[in-house]
């Protein structure tokens, strides 16, 4: 029922390092006809449905199929849920930004938010043998996207979470 598009995993690409270099290059050399979308939204959980709808719009436009659509919706929602829950502690007076950049080759989602205390390296890796009610969001993101990168700006407390799905590889 679902056509899984070939997304490039480490296995198919030699080493993690090489895959990441390739992804960096893809993002830096975006073609002139890439589509950019920026959203500035409130940090409340109603926003999540809007964001998924916008993702649907972008994915349908690229004609990517149900599996990729679901992966990108899922990763993006997990990322934004964490902003609302952990960074903003459900204070919906806070807002955050989302950027979506798409070309024939990559689908990039970036979430920008404020969290001066956030240390990405401290995100725990879940033990899937222990059944718990939480701790699976980042695990899911890392497993379904081809590239995930948290970067923080120390002075401003601004965090950028970049998530990339490769659609097809040039050359």
């Amino acid at each position: 029922m679902f056509t899984y598009f070939q997304t490039i995993k480490v296995e198919n690409y030699g080493s993690k390092r090489r895959l990441h270099d390739r992804i960096k290059q893809l993002i830096e050399e975006l073609p002139a006809d890439a589509t950019y979308m920026k959203m500035h939204v409130q940090g409340n959980s109603e926003t999540l449905a809007l964001i998924r709808r916008v993702i649907v719009a972008c994915v349908q436009h690229l004609d990517l199929g149900a599996a990729l659509l679901n992966d990108i919706k899922l990763a993006t929602t997990e990322a934004c849920t964490n902003v609302i829950k952990h960074a903003y502690k459900f204070n919906d007076a806070m807002s955050f930004d989302l950027e979506i950049v798409t070309s024939d080759e990559v689908f990039v989602v970036e979430v920008f938010y404020h969290d001066p205390d956030f240390v990405p390296a401290n995100i725990p890796v879940p033990n899937l043998n222990e059944i718990k009610e939480g701790g699976l969001g980042v695990f899911i993101i890392r497993n379904i996207m081809d590239h995930v990168d948290y970067s923080t700006e120390e002075d401003s407390g601004r965090v950028r979470l970049q998530m990339v799905k490769i659609l097809k590889l040039r050359d």
Binding site: S45, A49, R52, L128, E133, L136
Partner: protein
Amino acid sequence: MFKIECKVDAEKKIKIFYVDGELDIQSAKTLKSEVMDLIESTGWTYELNMDQVAYLDSSGLGMLVYLKKEITRHNGKLRIVKLNEPVLNVFKLTKLDDFFEIS
């Protein structure tokens, strides 16, 4: 748009919840409180019919883990049926397909 309907079969001690919509952190809260309100003291089966759920994330999963523990505490059973492929994939990815009774 998120909707839940509940059918009760008192004879067989089954409550079937028809869930309709996307299960994220917002709707998961709704579903959790709806089910919690209807948990009987002992020996019932609770079936979640997910036929109309095309999206589920870790917040939805966390809520299901919570419900399963609560229902077990009340000597009940939780059954999850009619999972769509994208939803089933999230169970598999997190290895929760074994923990839950799904079909």
